[in-house]
Symmetry: C2
Subunit: 628 residues, 2 copies
């Protein structure tokens, strides 16, 4: 029976009991032989020698050698096969037949690596200075000094524990602060950020890992209401760790077979929720980029020559979007050479929704001035008010004028998972493109931003392809359509689909639906409680998860007619925000909007938020603002 040879470390470990029994008959004899072959570090030798019970001494000897790694283990096996030992311990005869994989032939003995990796953490400070430094000094390959798997995995394991402790336990505990506010100068000093010529020992690096976690904002904390992302999903997080460890670059099937297929499947599933059985798409580094891609595609469809010839010689182009759309539409217009002045802002109603009639009029006006409209960028879930533009009616206008209809659903498209609420996006299936960030409402984790297209003609690839023969060779042995990197403007592109896929597999579409419904339920609870309290006023009845409201402090109540009322009110939210940050009790954003002075924008989205957390939010605003 020809068994696979195992590594020396594996062999010693599996035969430990037998070896202890045999060698304990004369433990000192074995130790001296081992030491004369330099199988132990000085320190290990002293430790083993200090044991006075023979079986303990043998156990220690074996353990130290196993921990030291493959070369020491191989040395011991050679010793055990040696004549002197074979004579002294006849029962050692069985060792003669044992074959091992040698470490020198192998980066391989990962088992050894693991053994080291799980050594007691409290030895970390001590062990590297004996074992590892000696390892480095010894007759090793030069590369060992650069990346050592066992040492590295030990460090990673310790760092993982700190991450769980600081970020996932303390960081989600309402008894702990959302942020530990420090002034920039103080924080810079605490963190000792400077990069120097010499490296640092592991225990110091682990302290740094803990410090970085400690002073960072706890975005998964149930009282983090500051942004349009919050909370943590552990399946997604596992997917993110795996993506990072695999370090895959998503451009070709050859380089990323799993993720090429997975991204296609995730995009297909998202498209199905929009109502498209066919189409195209890609993951982008954020919703702003998705919006820019949509603009570029719309422009390319209308003027394919723009890719090679540029805008020079073309008429002025115009983009239409609501006055409350995301600022990335303007940023994109600047970047794409269209110009921010050529972003025409369409009026919104009180709730922040685009008025289709105004859109229609503005398109006609712009056309009459010789400018060429080419895209309407609607918003499903605006950043401040959470408004949904009336997509169906906008689609009518787009059809009438033959314009590309883009939906910036970075925030709101996830509502498509909910049978109860998806009516908010009625008409989305008539769009040409949709930007959708599952890293927001679905908790997929930054970044996870899909651009989805109704197009089935390969527009995305035609628009973005470049002939890079070193990557996209035309004589490959598989279907070149799988080399999706041609669709992207990036070359290096991270894998953003795995975290969403794994989370989706874990909870199913129904679990994601539940998550969306829960967020709506929470937001409604918050609104209902807010209305019961004195001094809280909604800007507008919210239709989504953004709750915009003023807190009127006691001194301003009933003073609405005073000439300086607005000026004073404008200072309330920033002052309360400063207090809450310095206290670290919670985080909620504020901003002005058009003629409305600073108000709070509460975003309730994480399933980790309880009604108690929402009550706390209202209480805390009262506490922090009651003396104003």
């Amino acid at each position: 029976m020809a068994e696979e040879p195992v590594s020396a470390v594996q062999l010693l470990r599996s035969q430990k009991v037998k070896l202890i029994e045999i060698l304990s008959a004369d433990a000192d004899f074995v130790l001296q032989h081992a030491d004369s072959r330099c199988l132990l570090s000085c320190r290990s030798y002293q430790q083993v020698k200090a044991c006075h019970v023979p079986s303990e001494k043998t156990t220690e000897l074996l353990d130290h050698i196993i921990q030291r790694g493959p070369e020491a283990a191989e040395g011991l096996i050679r010793l055990l096969k040696d004549e002197a030992l074979q004579e002294a311990f006849p029962r050692l005869h069985f060792m003669k037949d044992q074959q091992v994989n040698t470490a020198s032939s192998a980066h391989s003995s990962k088992v050894d690596a693991l053994i080291f990796f799980s050594q007691p953490p409290d030895m970390a400070d001590v062990v590297p200075s004996i074992g590892l430094v000696e390892d480095l000094a010894g007759p090793q390959h030069p590369e060992d000094s650069l990346v050592n798997h066992s040492e590295g995995q030990f460090f990673l394991n310790e760092a993982f524990k700190i991450i769980v402790d600081e970020v996932l336990n303390k960081g989600t505990d309402v008894q702990q602060k959302v942020c530990d506010w420090k002034e920039p100068e103080e924080l810079a000093q605490l963190l000792d950020l400077e990069l120097r010529a010499a490296g640092e020992p592991h225990h110091r690096l682990l302290e740094r890992v803990r410090d970085v976690a400690k002073y960072s904002i706890k975005t998964s904390h149930p009282r983090f209401f500051n942004q349009q992302f919050a909370g943590v999903d552990y399946h997604s997080l596992a997917g993110r760790f795996l993506s990072e460890a695999l370090n895959t670059n998503l451009y070709t099937y050859e380089a990323a077979p799993v993720f090429v297929l997975m991204e296609n499947e995730v995009l297909r599933s998202l498209r199905l929720l929009i109502g498209w059985t066919e189409g195209d798409g890609i993951f982008c580094p954020g919703g702003s980029t998705s919006n820019m891609y949509a603009m570029n595609l719309a422009r390319f469809q209308l003027f394919p020559e723009v890719k090679s010839q540029g805008l020079c010689g073309l008429p002025r182009l115009a983009i239409f979007t609501s006055s409350q759309s995301h600022y990335s539409v303007k940023k994109g217009a600047g970047f794409l050479g269209i110009g921010t002045d050529n972003v025409i802002l369409v009026k919104v109603d009180d709730g922040g929704c685009m008025i289709p009639e105004d859109l229609d009029e503005k398109i006609a006006l712009v056309k009459s001035q010789g400018t060429v409209p080419f895209i309407v960028s609607c918003t499903a879930g605006t950043t401040v008010q959470g408004a949904f533009d009336p997509l169906d009616r906008i689609a009518d206008v787009c059809e009438k004028h033959k314009l590309w209809m883009h939906v910036d659903g970075a925030w709101g498209a996830s509502v498509l998972f909910s049978k109860q609420h998806r009516h908010l996006l009625k008409g989305i299936e008539r769009a040409n493109s949709v930007a959708w960030n599952p890293h927001k409402l679905l908790l997929a984790g930054l970044q996870c931003s899909a651009l989805l297209l109704r197009d089935c003609t390969g527009l995305l690839k035609r628009c973005h392809v470049a002939n890079a023969t070193y990557l996209f060779q035309q004589d490959k042995f598989y279907d070149l359509d799988l080399d999706i990197g041609n669709k992207s403007l990036q070359c290096s592109r991270k894998v953003d689909c795995l975290k969403l896929w794994l989370m989706w597999k874990a909870v199913g579409s129904s679990g994601l639906e539940e998550r969306v419904n829960k967020a709506f339920f929470n937001a409604r609870y918050f609104v209902q409680e807010l209305k019961k309290r004195k001094g809280f006023y909604l800007l507008h009845e919210p239709e989504f998860l953004n709750i915009c409201f003023w807190f009127i402090p006691p001194s301003l109540r009933g003073k609405e007619g005073n000439p300086d009322y607005q000026e004073k009110l404008a200072k309330v939210a920033p002052a309360i925000k400063e207090r809450m940050m310095k206290k670290g009790s919670m985080m909620v954003g504020y901003q002005p909007l058009e003629n409305k002075v600073n108000f709070f924008r509460m975003v309730v989205l994480s399933p980790l938020v309880s009604q108690e957390d929402m009550d706390f939010c209202l209480d805390e605003i009262e506490r922090l603002g009651n003396d104003m």
Copy 2:
């Protein structure tokens, strides 16, 4: 009486007293047997071994195994039923009849899960194990079903172990494949990618984690020579895990205090290596984006009105870059509305380096045609040949014509760490901007791409700022210059600085220098060995880490004069590549270049690569191509 079989953990727990009594007769014997079956982590083993009272030792042993979880518990039960133990402890006979539910069949053992995750000593104060267990069992709050920390962390912990095992151990083991090639249809079926309404149990999800790892390309494998990234750095990886767990969005000091300061410090340190004591910069999602940013900045500096008014009405603009520059220059020109035809390709010498005289002539020619040149994009380390454009001489040309000088050093800028080799970038300090990807040569992990600027006037912010009052409020209580999100075209932006910072802290600039020098050393070794062999021909003596060469199979040797020689040679590299992929033994890229037919491009960069791996590469090409 047919009792429900209990879990292994439950059984051990219920029989603990009896087992302690029996096994304490020879606690060391049991411990050594347990250790040789790998039932304990090394840390646990050390702790148990440290107990000197037999009953305590046995108690500790049982507790550690129970805490470790169902698999360890099942292993111990199998051991207790084993002949060796049954002989040593006759009273253990009762164990023979005990049946248990196996963990593999049971996601069920939530209790085990909870016990496991909540017991490690360092977490004990944070996680009230009883509370959690009760929460699960008792009447649940609706939110508990959505995100459960204890269950989630158990899953994350299990996934972490799989990641270490599959990606970091097997994935870096030369005895294992670099890729496990599957045809797309087969792979899609194996992975069962479809997303459904219902969720899946944890054990199934963990299998999925393993499958994703198993069928992905092992980019950290010592025989992955396919791309300009490879290898793994554990410090960086710990930084990446921490970044993912913190889920920070890098736009304001309020949202990302640690990372705003850290990014500034990392950028400052990179700039110092260029030779700039002042300047600006930002991390971008990849080098392509960095290059596009540089183009946009150069354009904005020349024509600030382009941001608001667009290109309409401006003269035709032109970009200059070498014929071997990265394809992102053209992609960027298309995206920015400049047009790919307005990217003027400058000639290169045999080594692939831009010829400054040709640049000067082409600029003059373009100007004479009424087109406005505005940027020269040089390359430090071209993608295929690894060529360094002569930066100092190009800087002279740029100064003469008053053009923005950009250096695409995505690949080559890391050489600045090496005193021995940094002469390759002489003149880089005269550039206006530099793109630098530490995720390539330095092993920082995807993505880590810095755009660095010499400008100190706030050009980057002026060029990209939009007035987003919900994020960049003007009445904050801290220095608004810290709200760096205004510099970016992204809104959501991942933290890419931490992994580089932590790695740099760990090994110091000197460690990174060593890494660069080692890569040069390895590349030179490969070239030297290649030259000794029959059938291998270099395109050109490499000056960097890209080694471009043909393998001439036996049937083509000496046939250089044949009319179909080139045609046949062109088919060799693709055919060998197909064989190597299907075998999974290694990965190395190939491509044609201008009039040169397909050749291999070997990239040696990872410190994990040994001389043996490089010898293997040459041997393997011979093996795979010898019948051609």
